[in-house]
Amino acid sequence: MSAIDASAKINLSKANVLLIDGSQHSLDVMAQIMKGFGVAEIHRCASIEEADKNVRGKALDLIIVDPDIGDGAGYEFLHALRHSGGSANAFVPVILVSGHVRAADVARARDTGANFFVAKPLTPSVLLQRIMFVARDKRDFVEIGEYIGPNRRFKFEGPPVGSDGRRDNDMKAPLGGADEPNLSQNEIDNFIKPQRVMI
């Protein structure tokens, strides 16, 4: 993921962010980072029960959750959130922040419906990069079997070699080679060169 432009502006002054972590000190860390980013409302939850209450009572813009809270209850919380149908927060961007992940939890983390994963230890720059990524993420949400969440395919590189593909927008016929010579650099430059226009 590319670094962020330091001069770019961000405005989180109206954002409503829910932080969920079993450790009060991790919550302090996340809350101080969010405060630095100018987040308007920060809700801190050290248990899934508190988090459930917040999800029901407020329209949220971002949830950051450590899934290891209460022995993996964070995964169940997110699964239930994505399946909460008409709820205002069902499809809100969710970032999972996790420390050490047990091998058994890797597939669970992938299938739980989060928008992105951030490995602890947290730093402000990594967290801001991920927040900007999830905000601008153009992936569709998909519902397939038990999974509801962002499409887990980040890249689309066309149908497999030798197959026509199954999507409507898969190109069925080969494109073939170019039938004209490539443009020269001068011709390309002329397309983007500012020109004086006489009216």
């Binding site: 290891d68 420390g99 047990r102 402000p124 801001l128």
Partner: protein
């Protein structure tokens, strides 16, 4: 046949980020880093307390104590790294790896004690400035964890 439903939820966050006003990324990062400094002392003291909490758990006979040590060690891993205690974070990660082996009950108590002693050692002033000694402590832990994980 599997049915796939696709939809595009409305993400308010994108529009908010781009609204007029706000702060530059550089300023936001500077403020966040400054805010973390205000809680450094409290958090570092809490990390030290968590190492002692793990030592007490290791001495106890309670059921689920190994899971409890895993959880506390995972917290130390995450929190120590944020405050620049990288080696302590690595030691805590090594303990988590050891305690997440398939048969947790076979993890020798002595291996947990070695990790906790290493964490205490890494916090002592005389070793804080000695990169070689810190590296040796971590290399020892890595070797022991690798050997035990392969055996268990």
């Amino acid at each position: 046949m599997t049915i796939v439903r696709k939809f595009t939820p409305d993400v308010r966050l994108e529009k908010m980020l781009a609204e007029p006003g706000g702060v530059s990324v550089a300023r936001a990062l500077e403020r966040a880093t400054g805010n973390l400094e205000t809680i450094r002392e409290t958090c570092v003291a809490a990390i030290d307390a968590k190492v002692e909490q793990m030592a007490m758990l290791a001495q106890s006979q309670g059921q689920g104590r190994l899971d409890a040590i895993y959880r506390v060690s995972n917290q130390v891993f995450g929190e120590a790294g944020t405050f620049g205690l990288a080696e302590l974070s690595v030691a805590a990660h090594s303990l988590c790896s050891l305690l997440s082996t398939a048969d947790q009950a076979k993890v020798p108590l002595a291996a947990i004690s070695v990790h906790l002693d290493a964490m205490r050692l890494l916090r002592r002033p005389e070793i804080v400035g000695d990169a070689a000694a810190r590296g040796a402590v971590l290399a020892g832990l890595r070797g022991m964890t690798k050997r035990l994980v392969a055996q268990i």
